[in-house]
Structures are given as structure tokens and as C-alpha cells.
Amino acid sequence: MNADPIDIVGVGAVVATGPHALQAVLAGVPMRSRRAGALSGAARLALAAAAQCPSVGDSFDLCGAPDARTGICLGTRHGAAAVARRSLLVLREHGVAGLQPSWYAGGLANATSALLASACAFGGPNLSFLGQHAGLDALIHACRCLARHRADHMLAGGVDTCEAAAPPCETAASAAALLLLRRMAPPSNATDARPRLGRVLGWAQCRPAAASDIPAAIASLVRQATPAACRPPPIEVCALEPETHSASALLPLVELLRAGGGLRAWVAHGQQELHCVVIDSPAASGERE
């Protein structure tokens, strides 16, 4: 892979088990934004996680032109399915006349990232990815955006709410786990004084033909993702169970970064899709910038 390392300058995570806990978690989060209007539960959950990243909360409802060099990559398993489900039930019971005009766009899978971009005035790439593994998929796509100079900063991770889930996932927690990434090359790092929590050194993904191929695929994936100059990293595998969602693989990664867990190859697999990021997070008591 031909990419420079990526700085991690912020992390944020919010978890709520069940609808009541979700309401409690969202209690202090704005319900509306001047730019975006009413914010969905998923957008507010993402906003709560994003606000834990340095300076991101300050950009909420900022006036002026959007920041074209900051983008968003979000993964979601359930999207905004609760809105879509409500629309379809109303359509069945009351016909087209019963629908609210805002429901269509609000029920699309990219609605959360769009609302977050509007609320924070992030005018860079705005991408949503689908699937159980989509949180790590989104993180890797954000790294690609930075490596290819499509943006200077990317907010990336996974967001899913229990209200959007359906069987077999209806008991899953609501969660958002986000990383704020920065392109290391100038000028982005020259004008951004935020300290670095760690670095993404490399990434890779694959989908083996059969489940029996997964152990070999993980070893191969870690080799692909590890830069030649880097020592072989310890491997941590996050197996995604059927009820997990797009933030599941990222929540422990956020904790690892907060703790300064050192060099790691972080691998997630769900169904048959495999994703790997190699990160280096200096010890919290040591060399953190």
C-alpha cells in the first residue's frame, strides 16, 4: 500500500442499552441545528460521540461557509430503518397522503452522516457504508480519503440505534464510536495544534471464499496492512456476533487508544468480511504529543 500514516487526534464513544438509556444519553444533546433542522436520534448519538473529540463540538451550528477540507465517513448496519419502517406502515394504513415529506430523505441510510455534516458544517466527503462491519470499513475509507488528499480531517466510525434495529438485532445497544483523523502531510498538520493520540499506520480488507479460510486471511491481511519498516504488531481480533452493529468493532478500539495501548493490528470479522487497521498509540504516561 502506498500511503503515509494518518494521525488520530480525537476519539469519542457513546453506548446506551435500550430505549430508556438512549434517552438518558441524549438528554444534553441538541435536538435541532440551525443548519440541519431537526436531528434524528442517530444523528444526536453521533453528535454526542463527536463532541468528545477536541474542537468538534465547537463547530456545531457555526455560521459561515462549510469547511470543505473536513469530511465524514460513517458506517451503519441499520441505517435510518426506523424512519423507513414508520413511512411504510403509514403508507399501508393511510396511503400516500399520510406521509410527511421529510421522511423519505430522513429514512435513507446516509441521513445520519448528512445531518452531522450540516450540524457541524463539514463540507468535505460525506460517505456512509452499510453492514455489520461498516464501522471499520468507514474508518478505512476515511484513511483512504486522507491518503489521497481528498480532505485534511475526517470524522469516521460507526453509529447505530436500537430503534432502527429489527430481528435478530432488536436487543442490540445503541452506540456510536468515532475517531477524528488528520492527514499528516502539510498544511493540515501545520495549522492543527490538537495533540495526537496515535497513528493509523496501514489498513487492508478482504473477503475470503469460505469461513475456513479466515485464519490464513487474517495473517495475510495483517502483513498487507503493516508497513515494511514496522515490527510485526500484536494482533487483536474482534469477532462480530450476529447481534452486533457497526460500532461494535470500534468501541474497544476507542478504549485502546484512550489507554495508549501501543502497536496493534486491529482485525474485525463479521460474516466473512475482514478488516484490519494497524495503529500505534503511545502509552498514556509516555510520549503522547
Binding site: P66, Y104, A114, A117, G124, P125, S128, R207, Q272
Partner: protein, 379 residues
């Protein structure tokens, strides 16, 4: 962009047929395929549907993925030299895939379950370089190939398959109706009397690889992707913003290291809705200057708006136009809205030139713009 990427294969499933030639023929003849469409719950007066005449097109729970698989199979079979499995990746864009399963469950009975849309598409296929499903509303079909280009440029894959898919749904038709964006009238992009979009469906997948390796193995090259831009209006969910679109066009031209004067034609998003066309025309005027906007093609006037597939259909149409040397005419538009300034629409004899701009925008303010060139020009 330092790596030019070649398009070396195509797979298409559309209301007009399943080959690029069928698409081009429909564009050239300005075929009108509008017809009433009976959805699961509501009879809609106007849409463009794929005839259910062959295996894989019937209305099943995961119909979007069935169509995507058909297009993918065609794209994979369209090149004589198979790529090594280990270095192939895939990115497919969709607006509503997953909601099709939900819609069938809720409107036609059955147990409402998790769509698991991604698994339905990817099961049974090994993707050595991984596979992703992108949802960027109606920009998905252009942004999926764009992201594939970056994966090739980063050396993560040797070949990428990328495109978009969406099917007609009650959810979509009713949603557009509620927003007053669809009706029974023909799609008249940039026309003084334009009213609405005509919704459609389909799947389109392109095979992409670095131009250098495509040439080295003697592959047939349909055209070359020279650069792209992506951005977000960060404003209203459904009202497009000319400034955000213009910013993305400039990003695409910068990426391609291309002066606006080098662009010979524009394949507009061109939905035929009052707000979208006005914003797009204003954005083009901001970038090119009001007097110097290149001739504009708008394939939704014939192909309709197939949502996430639309960006890939526009890209494919632009590639075919560059190869043939002429632009497809804009159907149904008889008088360009004076509010569009000096916008000139493509006619049957308008030359395409060597470099085209392709636009695709989506709800949520998502914008994608691509700069493409003919293979002759790239050689």
C-alpha cells in the same frame, strides 16, 4: 490524481436492455418508456420499470441485489482476461437496498426482519481486496467508482468492480411524490416548463484497473477516469446548493489537473426538477463562467432517475459519447429556461470532444463529480 484508471468492462441491467448498446440506442432515439407501475401498496401513475421477463428480474425480497449480481456477472464476463482473484475488490452504491426487503415484509406480509442487505449481495463471492456497500443517496453510483479509483491508486487492488443499483419501491415513489418531485410529465431537464423527475431502476457495474496495466495486457479500454471530486453542501437535506456543487466541480478539475477550458461537455445530474436544475446551472456558471459552459447532456431525460444507478449510467453514457464522438441529445426539452443563462444543451450532432465532466448529486447534500477522457486522448 497521479494514476489514470481505465474502464475495461461494463455490466448493465436497465429498462432499455442489458447492453451498453441498448442504452445508447435508447438515448439516441429519445425513447419514452414511461408507464404506470403497480407497486406493493400503491398504483403509481408514472415510472420506468425493468420488464419482468427473465430469471433474476422477478420481484423478490432482495431484488436490488439480484439485479446487482446480474450486472456484476456481466461486468466480470465482459473482459477476455480474467484478473487474479486475490487482488479484486468491489464497491457498490445504493440508496434504498435493504428497504426493498423491509417493504415487501411490511406491505405484502411476512415477518419484518433485518434486511441484511450486504450479506445478500456478497455471499458466495470471494473478494481478495474486500467489498464495500456505499450509501451516498443518488450520488452513490458515481462515488462508488470514484472510491474504487482511489483504492487502485493506493495499490490496494489490481482490479475493482464498482457501480450502483436501486429498484423502484413504494417507499421511493411515494417519497418523491411527497416532496413534489415526481409526477406524470416527461423529464425535461433545464426546460422552462420542467416539472419533475421520472423514477426508474437498474444496475450498472464497471470494471476498473490502472490504465498502465490495462494497456500492458492489451485490454479493450472504453475510456479513462482522470480525476474526481466529492463534497457535501452541509445544508438542507433535499435542496441542492450551487456553491457546494461548484466547490466539488473545482475539486474534480484540480484532481485531474485540468483547466475548465479543456472540458468539452458536461453530463449533468439533470433531474428535470426546478430546484436541482437551477442549482446545477448556477454551479456550472460559477466554474466555467456564464458564457463558457460546455454543451450539456442530461441522460435522465430518457433513462429516468434510477437513483444510485443513475451516476453509473451517466458515467457510462459519457464514456460511450467520447468513444463515438457525439453527445446524446436531451429529450423533451424544447426551450431552455432563460434563468439558466447561456446553457447550451446537446443535440444529436453535438461533438463530444475528448474530456467530459460527469455530475451526480444526492439527498443529504452529497456531491460527486468525475472528469473522464477518451482512450484516444489518453494514449
Amino acid at each position: 490524481m497521479t494514476v489514470e484508471v481505465a474502464v475495461t468492462g461494463v455490466g448493465v441491467v436497465s429498462p432499455f436492455g442489458d447492453t451498453p448498446m441498448a442504452l445508447w440506442d435508447a438515448l439516441a432515439r429519445r425513447v419514452d418508456a414511461r408507464a404506470p407501475w403497480q407497486a406493493a401498496a400503491v398504483a403509481h401513475p408514472c415510472a420506468q420499470a425493468i420488464p419482468v421477463t427473465a430469471s433474476g428480474r422477478e420481484h423478490t425480497r432482495h431484488r436490488a441485489w439480484q439485479l446487482a449480481r446480474l450486472a456484476l456477472d456481466k461486468a466480470m464476463a465482459s473482459d477476455r482476461v480474467p484478473a487474479a482473484q486475490a487482488r479484486i475488490g468491489c464497491i457498490l452504491g445504493t440508496t434504498t437496498a435493504g428497504i426493498d426487503a423491509l417493504e415487501r415484509d411490511l406491505l405484502l406480509g411476512g415477518e419484518a426482519g433485518d434486511g441484511d442487505a450486504v450479506g445478500a449481495l456478497l455471499d458466495g463471492r470471494p473478494w481478495g481486496a474486500g467489498a464495500s456497500v456505499l450509501s451516498a443517496a443518488c450520488a452513490s453510483g458515481l462515488l462508488a467508482p470514484a472510491l474504487a479509483v482511489d483504492r487502485l491508486a493506493l495499490g490496494e487492488a489490481e482490479v475493482m468492480f464498482a457501480g450502483g443499483v436501486d429498484v423502484l419501491l413504494d417507499y421511493t415513489l411515494s417519497g418523491f411524490h411527497g416532496l413534489r418531485l415526481s409526477g406524470t410529465a416527461a423529464c425535461r431537464p433545464f426546460d422552462r416548463l420542467r416539472q419533475s423527475v421520472v423514477l426508474s431502476e437498474g444496475a450498472a457495474v464497471l470494471r476498473l484497473e490502472p490504465l498502465r496495466s490495462a494497456r500492458a495486457r492489451g485490454a479493450g479500454v472504453l475510456g479513462v477516469i482522470k480525476g474526481f471530486g466529492m463534497g457535501c453542501d452541509a445544508g438542507h437535506a433535499t435542496a441542492p446548493d450551487a456553491t457546494g456543487i461548484a466547490r466539488t466541480i473545482r475539486a474534480a478539475l484540480d484532481d485531474a489537473q485540468m483547466d475548465p477550458a479543456a472540458v468539452a461537455c458536461v453530463f449533468a445530474h439533470g433531474t428535470g426538477t426546478p430546484a436541482n436544475d437551477a442549482a446545477e446551472a448556477a454551479a456550472l456558471a460559477q466554474v466555467f463562467g456564464a458564457q463558457r459552459i460546455p454543451p450539456v447532456a442530461a441522460v435522465k431525460s430518457v433513462l429516468g432517475h434510477s437513483q444510485a444507478a443513475a451516476g453509473t449510467f451517466s458515467l457510462l453514457s459519457a464514456l460511450l459519447a467520447l468513444r463515438r464522438g457525439v453527445l446524446p441529445p436531451v429529450a423533451n426539452t424544447s426551450e431552455v429556461d432563460p434563468a439558466m443563462g447561456n446553457l447550451v444543451l446537446a443535440a444529436p450532432d453535438t461533438p463530444s470532444g475528448a474530456v467530459a465532466l460527469v455530475n451526480a448529486f444526492g439527498f443529504g447534500g452529497t456531491n460527486g463529480v468525475m472528469v473522464i477522457g477518451s482512450h484516444t486522448e489518453a494514449a
